[in-house]
Amino acid sequence: MSIFAKYFPNAVTMKSDFLQATWETIYMTLITAIVAGVIGMAIGIGLIVTQPGGILENRVVYNILDKVVNLFRSIPFVILLAVIAPVTRIIVGTAIGTTAAIVPLVIGSAPFYARQIQNALTEVDHGIIEAAEAVGSGPIAIIFRVYLREGLADIIRSSVLTLISLIDLTAMAGAIGGGGLGNLAINVGYSRFESDVTFLAMLIILVLVFAIQLLGDLWARRVDHTA
């Protein structure tokens, strides 16, 4: 402990802050991942099936989805925070704090994830989709049993990418009092020149990132049967 205290003079007094920040980061990341995951997945699938040549080709729906995704991807996150505060208030009752941060985080990451899913599913061999169509599979079956299954390894890899970007994004949650490790690193450690705090916060983020990448890689390799 003394060595730790020596190299982390400020951090050593902040055990509870670190615990809380870690929890906040995990909490925000997890909930956002679930919600943005579902939304992004839905939009990504929507883009794939309604695109020209898709199984539910629909120019109008495709264009709307495509444009909405672009629209939300154009808004800088800090502005998103402010713009959607009223929505946040309706959904979680308040526009500040960790839980409130989840709403803009979701809106900030879901369109990104949607594009990732779209890119991943574009790679599913059209011949396989046809084979499923030929046995009379409907759109729902094709989405769940073919697209999501055949594209799974790629979806996992894209999800890892998104999840890590999301951890990065949670650092911005500090703007509305959301806390988290990123906030700790920037607004406590960095701004106050307490580099040990920054370092430790980043170390914890690093551990999270490596864990996600490792698990994702293992899982992707497990479900990838193409070679």
Partner: protein
């Protein structure tokens, strides 16, 4: 043609557009397949065979024409109806199109999802199908771990899973060794006999056609140029292409070439004539060669022969050197003609040129 038609394609056109370039893959093709037919579709690579059959279950919407399957206007069906119709049409794809993320067993099981069968029933059915194609051992493997022929067999099992009424087979046996091919063809024939399965069989293996088809259509450049029942097509092809196919299948062309090369050694003259004899049916029962000797003292030496039985009808194709007195030879030939045998006199070219 007394049997009810189960597939009716009327004036089908399929045109592909690619960057200004236009490919007319299928042009004004009409085809009628009766229930219980095993209909062979042959033709050169790129003739439009795959494109044509993809029209049957609307995987390919034709640019023009109508498609009727089982009395339904396929092109007018709403999606739910189309799905129901497709469940009755098994399809084996030229490129297999197996799902890489599923095991072999899962691939075969796929069409059974939502079929109302219990898990146990499905499992048993999959096991039976895999056994049928000789892949029980590979049930838990993934497509990437299979050899080419094994993949093709999985595709066959999958196409049969739903107990379809119609099976569309696009080169289903092209990657298979002759033994496995025979086994698969036997299977199709059995399903055809026992359950009335209608089969549309694209293939380039004339042996396969001979073995199980009762009808054949020959495609060239997007059009069907000849069609009919197996025996008449094989015994009396009208188009050069059809003849080519049959000859290549019986390898008579290569045989003739080889014979010509040796022609000098054959010592052909007035007394020795190189003749190709073709006959259908009954002729085989009369011992032709013996008969020719008995009657006209003509000695026939078989250089090449192919006598086979198509749909219970023997079909003969012999290249012989007939030796005898010129007038006796004439009489022998007349005898042959009277017996309904087709005679072709072969004139070997200069072997150096050939």
């Amino acid at each position: 043609m007394t049997k009810e038609p189960i597939i009716q394609l009327n004036h089908i056109d399929v045109t592909f557009h690619n960057k200004g370039q236009t490919v007319k893959a299928v042009q004004d093709v009409s085809l009628e397949v009766a229930r219980g037919d095993i209909y062979g579709v042959v033709g050169y690579s790129g003739a439009g065979k795959s494109t044509l059959v993809r029209v049957i279950n609307r995987l390919q919407r034709p640019t023009a024409g109508t498609v009727t399957v089982n009395g339904q206007n396929i092109l007018a069906l709403r999606s739910s109806e189309l799905r129901a119709a497709r469940k009755k049409i098994g399809m084996i794809f030229q490129h297999f199109n197996l799902m890489n993320a599923r095991t072999i067993a899962d691939n075969v099981d796929y069409p059974l999802k939502g079929s109302g069968l219990s898990r146990k029933e499905r499992h048993d059915k999959v096991a039976r199908l895999l056994d049928l194609v000789g892949l029980s051992e590979k049930a838990q493997d993934y497509p990437a771990q299979l050899s080419g022929g094994q993949k093709q067999r999985v595709a066959i099992a999958r196409a049969l899973a739903n107990d379809p009424e119609i099976l569309i087979s696009d080169e289903a046996t092209s990657a298979l060794d002759p033994k496995t091919t025979s086994a698969i063809l036997e299977l199709l024939k059995r399903l055809n006999k026992e359950l009335g399965l209608t089969v549309v069989l694209i293939t380039h293996e004339m042996d396969a056609v001979k073995e199980i088809c009762n009808k054949v259509a020959v495609m060239e450049d997007g059009a069907i140029i000849e069609r009919g029942d197996l025996v008449s097509i094989f015994s009396n092809p009208q188009k050069p292409l059809t003849r080519d196919f049959i000859n290549t299948a019986t390898q008579i062309d290569q045989a003739l070439e080889k014979i010509y090369k040796q022609a000098k050694g054959l010592g052909l003259d007035d007394h020795h004539q190189l003749v190709q004899l073709k006959y259908v049916g009954a002729s085989t029962d009369a011992p032709l060669i013996t008969e020719l000797f008995k009657r006209y003292q003509v000695v026939s030496n078989i250089l090449y022969g192919n006598v086979e039985i198509l749909q219970d009808t023997p079909l003969g194709n012999l290249v012989v050197v007939m030796a005898g007195e010129p007038d006796q030879l004439e009489q022998a030939w007349q005898y042959c003609r009277d017996a309904g045998i087709q005679l072709t006199f072969l004139k070997p070219k200069d072997p150096e040129v050939a």
